[in-house]
């Protein structure tokens, strides 16, 4: 299924994130599959990079665990081929891994070709602003993949334009400044940012700091087409790992959390309809 097809539906999309290979390849397969059972519409699957400058401590730790357990770009592609889910997978990573995959010729083309080959639908590249993204955009066009950009509360109008020209799939609205991590509140900055890009023709998914069904509901009510959740799910993986929990038990918790978030997002639409 393509990203367009997901967002064409009336329902808000639930977009969970996990780092591939955290805490092990095998367990991670189970966890990603549990997210789909819990209602995931798209999965942002992290390809771990050794210098994750935009991540808070939760996802940093996940990346460290995954790298330690042997995750590499090649293993990641195998993972995507093997994992048994029908929803689209978006690869979330940092540019150096994409760049290096090209070997001596460098550049993103080889990486994108391989990603298309294993069925990845798009990319979020955390440290690649629109200005530096043309080579990747061209490769995505060649192989029919989407390139998602992150809009931050601090993004200026000029910068919004350069992203609007290059974005496809969906736009990732960063709910607040800072790094990733679950928070108690959902920022007012979200509504303002959504307002600024309301006339864009790509769907808007909001992430950063969302950890409960209630958060998800509020985000959707504020106008989001999708809700992205990472750290709150990674926390469950981390607790399971630290507590030596059976993989099936952690998977069940992930499924339940996913269901809570998805249900919350759906309530957001209902409420919006009622209030009209």
């Amino acid at each position: 299924m393509s990203l367009d097809a997901v967002f064409d539906s009336e329902e808000p999309a639930f977009v969970p994130y996990l780092a591939a290979g955290d805490p092990s390849y095998e367990a991670s397969l189970e966890y990603v599959e549990a997210l789909e059972r819990g209602g995931a519409d798209v999965i942002e699957l992290g390809l771990p990079f050794s210098e994750p400058i935009a991540e808070g401590s939760t996802i940093q730790s996940a990346i460290v665990r995954a790298l330690k357990a042997g995750m590499t770009p090649e293993r990641y592609f195998e993972f995507v081929e093997e994992v048994d889910v029908d929803v689209p997978i978006v690869c979330m990573t940092y540019y150096n891994l994409i760049f290096q995959y090209g070997g001596s010729e460098g550049g993103p083309r080889k990486f994108v070709e391989r990603a298309a080959d294993v069925g990845i639908e798009g990319f979020v590249v955390v440290d690649l602003p629109a200005e530096e993204a043309d080579p990747l955009r061209e490769a995505c066009d060649e192989f029919g993949l989407d390139l998602i950009f992150i809009v931050a509360p601090t993004t200026t109008d000029d910068r919004l334009e350069s992203m609007r020209e290059r974005v496809s799939g969906y736009v990732y609205v960063q709910a607040r400044t800072g790094v990733t991590g679950a928070r108690e509140d959902v920022s007012d900055q979200t509504a303002q940012t959504l307002d600024r890009i309301s006339d864009w023709d790509v769907p808007k998914a909001v992430g950063f700091g969302i950890k409960t069904g209630e958060h998800a509901e509020r985000i959707v009510r504020a106008g989001a087409d999708g809700v992205i959740v990472g750290s709150a799910l990674v926390d469950i993986v981390a607790e399971g790992h630290e507590g030596d929990e059976p993989v099936a038990e952690t998977a069940e918790k992930l499924e339940a959390k996913a269901r809570e978030l998805k249900t919350g997002a759906l309530r957001g639409v209902g409420a919006a309809v009622e209030s009209e």
Binding site: F49, S50, E51, P52, I53, A54, E55, G56, Q60, V64, L67, T72, P73, E74, Y94, Y95, N96, L97, I98, F99, Q100, Y101, G106, V126, D127, L128, P129, E131, E132, F149, I150, V151, A152, P153, T154, T155, T156, R159, Q174, T177, G178, V179
Partner: protein, 427 residues
């Protein structure tokens, strides 16, 4: 300034702005401030900077003939004494410039990373001098091996935040400072300590540091009557290196030698993800780290390797994009010196010239010892910093080796009941 560079801050294929979107507006704001205040001297910014560098920093800094070294190598050796700059290293040139710029920009808070602690110390001093609150991120490994600088930062009133991820060195400290900046971007300026990071940092830091070669070029003409055959500087991230080279780049008869840390070996351990050196110019390949495309120590997947050097200030997996470009162009020659030779050079300079150099700086002198024939008849060596901060490390590392040139340190065991050695013994 020294090279014809496009406005987007690219150096050949290197440089750029590879940062999370949340930081882009701050980077654009900084670009604008750099152009106005630094390049165009708006509101007399550069005049105030120069005046403070003189009165607070102690510039101009002498260029001194090294009599014993000149004799030893049968060549004229001049020392650019950046160790005499306030704080004991070249770092203040940049830190003072950036903290002052932050003030002109209306920022209210300063953050910085530090490896050896020299940049953190310089930033803490500049922030105290200009009355700005300051927080420094420093890897826990570096905190352990550079304690005197940690004390100095605290005494100047800065907060020191230990970074415990990874190996706890400069690479992790930079990542952590970027996270702070992403969170507090509106009122905070990130004072990067080297010519690394996204544009405009590499150009701006070079401009602040280029006072080194601006002075040295004049001074060598006065003292020796001509330009040198070579300039030698150690290179980690590369700020003292580019500072010492900048005004000589267009003098194509002057060889520019960037001395990297060869560590214990130039061979990498791909399985462990460790490069036992910090020689990114000599052995690295192109990639993207901390906001810039440059030469990096990385594995074949693109994961960044842990670097190593006995010198904390050179212990970094990347290098400034401008240096990477100048190396590709053949204008700068990368060379390297291992831990052992650097330690020997540390002792030699201390005994022969009465100058205790930073371990970073000692690499430049190690090169002189190993390859005196490569520097011509007249050379300038940049003494990027003094070595007081390194004394504990030097005593420990010297004890592990059999160095002819090192003094006998057993006096410490007699009077200190092994206190200095005890930390090493327990490890």
């Amino acid at each position: 300034m020294s090279t014809d560079e496009p406005a987007d801050g690219s150096f050949g294929q290197y440089g750029g702005q590879y940062v999370p979107e949340v930081l882009m507006p701050a980077i654009e704001e900084l670009e604008d401030a750099y152009r106005r205040y630094v390049l165009d001297n708006e509101d007399g910014f550069m005049d105030e900077f120069r005046e403070r560098l003189a009165d607070f920093g102690g510039r101009p800094i002498p260029l001194q003939r090294a009599d014993r070294l000149s004799e030893r190598y049968d060549t004229e050796v001049y020392l650019k004494r950046e160790d005499l700059l306030h704080g004991g290293a070249h770092k203040l040139n940049n830190a003072l410039g950036q903290v002052l710029l932050a003030k002109y920009m209306g920022k209210e808070r300063i953050i910085a990373e530090t490896g050896a602690g020299q940049h953190g110390t310089a930033t803490a001093m500049a922030a105290a001098h200009l009355d700005m609150p300051c927080e420094i991120y420093m890897g826990e490994t570096d905190i352990a091996r550079q304690r005197p600088n940690v004390f100095r930062m605290r005494i100047n009133g800065a907060e020191v935040n230990p970074v415990t991820v990874g190996r706890g060195t400069l690479k992790e400290a930079i990542s952590e400072t970027m996270r702070d900046w992403a969170t507090n971007v509106e009122d905070t300026h990130y004072v990067i300590g080297s010519i690394v990071g996204p544009h405009p940092f590499p150009s701006m830091v070079r401009d602040f540091q280029s006072v080194i070669s601006e002075e040295a070029r004049e001074q060598i003409r006065e003292k020796a009557g001509r330009l040198p055959d070579s300039v030698v500087a150690c290179a980690g991230g590369g700020s003292n290196t580019m500072g010492a080279f900048a005004h000589f780049v267009s003098d194509t008869d002057v060889d520019l030698l960037a001395v990297e840390a060869g560590g214990s070996s130039l061979t990498v351990d791909e399985a462990e993800g460790v490069a036992p050196n910090s020689a990114s110019l000599s052995t690295g390949n192109e990639g993207v780290l901390h906001g810039a495309r440059t030469k990096l120590l990385q594995d074949s997947d693109g994961q960044i390797m842990e670097s190593h050097s006995v010198s904390a200030g050179l212990d970094y997996s990347g290098v400034g994009p401008e240096l990477a470009h100048l190396v590709d162009e053949g204008r700068v020659t990368p060379v390297n010196v291992g831990d052992d030779a650097a330690l020997e050079a540390f002792h030699r300079l201390s005994q022969d010239e009465g100058i205790i150099p930073a371990l970073e700086t000692a690499h430049a002198f190690g090169y002189l010892e190993e390859h005196p024939e490569e520097v011509g008849d007249l050379t300038i060596v940049n003494v990027s910093g003094r070595g007081d901060k390194d004394l504990e490390t030097v005593i420990e590392e010297t004890a592990k080796r059999d160095l002819d040139v090192a003094p006998d340190m057993s006096v410490f065991e007699q009077v200190g009941a092994g206190r200095l050695g005890s930390r090493g013994d327990r490890e």
